[in-house]
């Protein structure tokens, strides 16, 4: 019953999002929605490893960047964009497999620092190898339509959220959450922690790679280094924490909240919005563990306890 309801709501929201370009004709608003969808993809893919599996990855932009760079090069070389994106996703997987084994030798904060370092290394390397700005060729500019980009972002966001939902409700997802909660207890039940972490990393990387591909198709001109910037990682991490890690809705809520707030702040406070977000992030971690979704869960737990104590009073 509850599952059917969520399914219907998801279907209605998807249909509404698909219909948006029919009604929204303002490019600025459509661009804005594209950004929300991109961040939904990034935060939700981060959440598979960082939220469900508990491995806080601060090198997520590496996968986004690899997807972007591969897609851009292949697309400009005349490939079909979808095929180019797929290769971008596969390149992200290849990198994930390469770093997975050494990175997961590290635990907790050391894993996080390790991934941050890997992301920074890639950021610097790409900056050195591709110092020139990457601009769309004229023929692509002429045929450029924002609506196509919007649908591509929407498709990637839907695939990402759907994949996260399927994994979270599978046996593998159960194992991932157990690894997050208590790795050694999970192993004592027969859950192979390394395999679960690696699967989460690979899936997270592939989806971020696809998002990178959509970005490469969307952005007219940028430095190839830009998608590798740690800012993408930090933004998606913050969104997941603010909305609630380890939930499907959390990163979506976080992404919407973040993009809207960022817009409001940059209109009114110009350069100060990173400061505001930093403070907000600290406040969430300190006073709102589990983000918005965590707050909701605690309210439900309290109601449950209340119901129980009432039930115990009436049937001693």
């Amino acid at each position: 019953m509850k599952k059917n309801l969520s399914f219907v709501i998801a279907l209605v929201v998807t249909a509404a999002l698909a219909a948006v370009p029919l009604f929204v004709k303002k490019d600025s608003l459509l661009t804005y929605l594209c950004m929300i969808l991109l961040y939904v993809s990034l935060a939700s893919s981060w959440n598979i490893l960082g939220g469900y599996t508990g491995q806080v990855n601060l090198g997520h932009s590496a996968f986004f960047g690899l997807g972007a760079i591969a897609t851009r090069l292949l697309w400009f070389a005349g490939w079909n964009i979808l095929l180019a994106m797929l290769v971008g996703g596969l390149l992200a997987i290849a990198f994930a497999l390469l770093i997975g084994s050494p990175a997961f030798k590290l635990r907790g904060a050391y894993f996080t620092i390790g991934t941050l370092a890997l992301g920074q290394i890639l950021y610097a390397t790409v900056g050195n190898l591709f110092p020139q700005i990457s601009s769309m060729p004229v023929q692509d500019l002429i045929s450029y339509t924002l609506v196509t980009r919007y649908y591509l972002f929407l498709a990637v966001a839907l695939i990402t959220v759907l994949a996260a939902t399927l994994v979270a409700n599978s046996r593998w997802g159960l194992g991932m959450m157990a690894v997050r909660e208590q790795e050694d207890a999970a192993e004592s039940l027969g859950v192979n922690a390394f395999q679960h972490k690696l699967l989460a990393l690979v899936l997270s990387a592939f989806l971020a790679g696809l998002a990178g591909g959509a970005f490469a198709f969307f952005q007219i001109g940028y430095y190839p280094q830009y998608p590798f910037s740690p800012i993408w990682t930090l933004d998606s991490t913050m969104m997941a924490y603010i909305g609630g890690t380890g939930t499907i809705l959390g990163p979506i809520i976080g992404a919407i909240f973040f993009v809207v707030l960022k817009e409001v702040l940059s209109l009114n406070l110009a350069e100060f919005h990173p400061t505001v977000f930093g403070i907000l992030f600290i406040l969430v971690v300190l006073f709102l563990p589990g983000g918005f979704m965590g707050l909701w869960k605690r309210i439900k737990d309290k109601q449950q306890k209340k119901r129980e104590s009432m039930a115990e009073l009436s049937h001693p």
């Binding site: 046996r171 159960l174 194992g175 959450m177 157990a178 997050r180 909660e181 208590q182 050694d184 207890a185 999970a186 192993e187 004592s188 039940l189 027969g190 859950v191 192979n192 380890g246 869960k297 737990d301 449950q304 306890k305």
Partner: protein, 233 residues
């Protein structure tokens, strides 16, 4: 059923177990008692593969456990309830139980097994969709044991199931463990609650400083002067 022969286990350079040999026969309830830091938990972890002994052998039902990866040992029918229960607090009771049946052998029959677990722990059925973190201490321990039962173990090992529980709950938990044993599950119990552990067990081993220093029927050990003075005061 389970046989440890002369095992030595190390934490890095530090030797924790010195030539431990013990045996648990099918259907038995065996207790392993001893003071803090004697090597009780280390012994259990050597069996489950969390730690690997440097020397000696461990066999279970004819399998050489030292050659089996830790995540496959559960599939053979060895299950452990860790100290403090170690339930997954952020997950529901149902999810915790499902995780107990993670191995492919147990997973197929998980719903039947769950009904069986509810017969021993009816409380868990009432709490099925609640997060484990909202359970009381006794309920958590029941969930931990129920979760271990979900793997359909032939041998159930329990590390201090009475730890941190109110006395009245301790008795209830021990009753449940005895009940599980009567259903045909072999039990290896590690306890600091020595009197209860010896009263319940068919046989017991006493471990001190990483060595087995005594062995006998529970009743016999209860009457030993050295055990009485050391553990029962």
């Amino acid at each position: 059923m389970l046989k440890l022969t002369e095992i030595d286990t190390f934490y890095g350079d530090l030797q924790a177990l010195w030539g431990i040999s013990l045996e648990v026969r099918e259907g038995e309830m065996v207790s392993l008692i001893g003071p803090n830091g004697a090597g009780k938990t280390t012994t259990l972890q050597s069996i489950t593969g969390l730690l690997r002994p440097a020397k000696g052998s461990i066999t279970f039902d004819g399998h050489d456990l030292l050659k089996v990866p830790p995540d496959k040992i559960v599939d053979l029918g060895v299950s452990m309830v860790m100290e403090g229960g170690r339930v997954f607090a952020g997950m529901t009771v149902l999810e915790n139980l499902e995780l107990g049946a993670y191995g492919s052998r147990a997973r197929k029959e998980r719903f039947e097994t769950m009904e069986h677990v509810f017969k021993t722990f009816p409380r868990l059925k009432e709490r099925l969709n609640q997060r484990a973190g909202t359970l009381s201490g006794g309920e958590r321990q029941m969930l931990a044991i129920g979760r271990a039962m979900m793997s359909k173990p032939k041998l159930l090992m329990l590390d201090e199931p009475s730890f941190g529980l109110a006395p009245i709950l301790v008795d209830a938990i021990f009753e449940m463990v005895k009940g599980i044993n009567k259903q045909g599950v072999t039990i290896l119990l590690v306890e600091q609650n020595v009197r209860a552990a010896l009263e319940l067990a068919d046989r017991a081993y006493v471990i001190e400083n990483g060595r087995i220093v005594g062995e006998g029927s529970g009743e016999a050990l209860l009457s030993y002067e050295s055990v009485r003075s050391a553990y029962l005061g």
